[in-house]
Symmetry: C2
């Protein structure tokens, strides 16, 4: 849960005067997301989502994030659509922070993942990749292989307290990937964080994708690899090939994976597991025990990393 920036009633009224979305009738801080302050805003014209960007988001990235949402929404992707003010701007200041209003998406994210969720995910991911092809602004992936060693450096000294031998195993993984990370795969805009809590379903249908604040330019198949990790493991740690097959087949129907992308999947999935393992490990070691932010277990991703390292053929993914 985020530490919220308080928004006053008078300053909200002044802020909304620059838009054509009616007057504020309610504003509720939303207990989701640790990066930003999020509010559900009800006006005389409907429901909207108000985000104040806190210090973990670089304001220089906002034209990418908001521009991307505009770009995707214009191409039919069900994502939050930025509301532009009367001056055309989608980003302005509120309570001393950069702020933006978007449409409010209906739907609930699935708590229990079933195979029926995975084809819609694959399809939506491929549609997202196609829609993002001609987006002009670029944003490199700060959490790709070049970022892993500095991230690890912040955790290495205490890594073995989380699991014996972890520091050595992660060091070896990073060495390996610095030498063997797949290059020259088809690239474009990826979501990079399409976990279940960022995907809404309504009446069994995928109704929206949210939280594009890790979106960046990278290999498209890396986004598929992230989703394999996020959607296709069971709570007991086993890999569900039915889910993976459904996801990849649906993706393929919209944007066929090239042979090089398929061949790279085990390495990409292993790298994606390492990426989430490293950020979770960092947060685990740097979040005070008394804090109310729920720390996510890094060892879940150590198990996933080891699974992908043991993959010998695409048949292990059900392909």
């Amino acid at each position: 849960m985020a530490v919220y920036t308080e928004v006053g009633d008078a300053e909200l009224d002044a802020f909304l005067a620059d838009y054509d979305i009616g007057e504020a009738e309610a504003l509720k801080g939303v207990a989701e997301g640790v990066e930003n302050s999020n509010y559900l805003l009800t006006t005389t014209k409907g429901q909207y989502f108000l985000t104040l960007y806190e210090k973990r988001v670089d304001p220089r990235d906002l034209p990418f994030f908001l521009g991307l949402l505009d770009h995707l929404a214009a191409r039919g992707i069900n994502c939050p659509k930025p509301i532009h003010g009367r001056d055309g701007q989608a980003i302005r200041a509120l309570a001393g922070k950069p702020a933006a209003v978007t449409t409010f998406l209906h739907g609930l994210w699935p708590r229990r993942i079933g195979a029926q969720h995975c084809a819609p995910i694959g399809r939506a991911l491929a549609e997202l990749h196609l829609a993002g092809r001609d987006f002009a602004i670029k944003r490199p992936n700060a959490l790709s292989v070049a970022g892993w060693r500095p991230l690890f450096d912040g955790s290495r000294a205490h890594a073995d307290e989380v699991a014996p031998g972890l520091a050595r195993e992660l060091g070896a993984e990073i060495d390996f990937f610095e030498a063997n990370w797949p290059r020259d795969l088809p690239a474009g805009v990826i979501h990079a964080d399409l976990f279940p809590d960022n995907v809404f379903f309504l009446h069994e249908r995928l109704s929206g994708l949210i939280d594009f604040y890790f979106a960046c330019n990278d290999a498209l198949a890396y986004d598929v690899a992230i989703c394999l990790n996020a959607w296709c493991f069971e709570p007991d740690g086993s890999f569900n090939t039915t889910k993976a097959r459904a996801m990849i087949q649906a993706y393929d129907e919209v944007r066929p994976l090239a042979a090089a992308e398929r061949a790279a999947l085990p390495l990409l999935a292993r790298g994606a597991a390492l990426r989430f393992l490293l950020t979770r490990l960092y947060d685990w070691l740097h979040t005070p025990a008394g804090a109310l932010v729920k720390r996510k277990d890094p060892l879940e991703y150590l198990a996933k990393l080891r699974f992908h390292r043991g993959v010998t053929s695409l048949a292990d993914y059900g392909l």
Copy 2:
């Protein structure tokens, strides 16, 4: 901010099947309140408020709380109105917790208190007191004078770390009030926590009262005394007699304060200041420094307590 109980999409659907308020279209945890898990629920029929009662609320008090909201709403008080299920029940279980759905009130709470807020507060408080007169269920005030010494016992050993001499000053206050607390004043249902964040305004008009989870039976004038503390001090600590006069006059127009109630106001206000000082002190000393719950400054209420102790006539309140 509360630690939220997670509500799954499937269990929410099953829960809503017992109501006639449509199907879930969105569910957002609200970052307000430290007692309960609160969700803003959007259904095909509108917006609602969903509360899961956490361990700080005694389930045996729920018939009082929900019954009171029914009772008040039926008498025209703008408070959350419980939604009853098809079986007539307003309280049922969700995610293993007692849960209730209410209407969603429009409005924003005022961040900067002006004199113009205080007459509406006085009027609404008096209307609440009149509307509550014939409510059948009783709930004693656990945070009145009999509760202060046990509460203080949990803080006394460390009170002087917050302010030198605080333990001795608070001990003397409790001794004094145990001997001198005003008795036999007109009593009834009081809100007992009508702070600015529990009062909504819309277009300059009071649009709703929320958070009745401290409501109980006590002297009605004690509720006025709580509001004098909550609404009539300036951020610099000075007491604003214009605000107090506006509040009391507006209250009087709806429910005239008896002579004994007026005479008791300085003691009641001093006692109310002590009550919030004691709970804030307890929370201050028992909340981990790293926690994201914002601790409220107990010393703000020490200054208010001392102000009321120095009051020699009602003229000090602008009356």
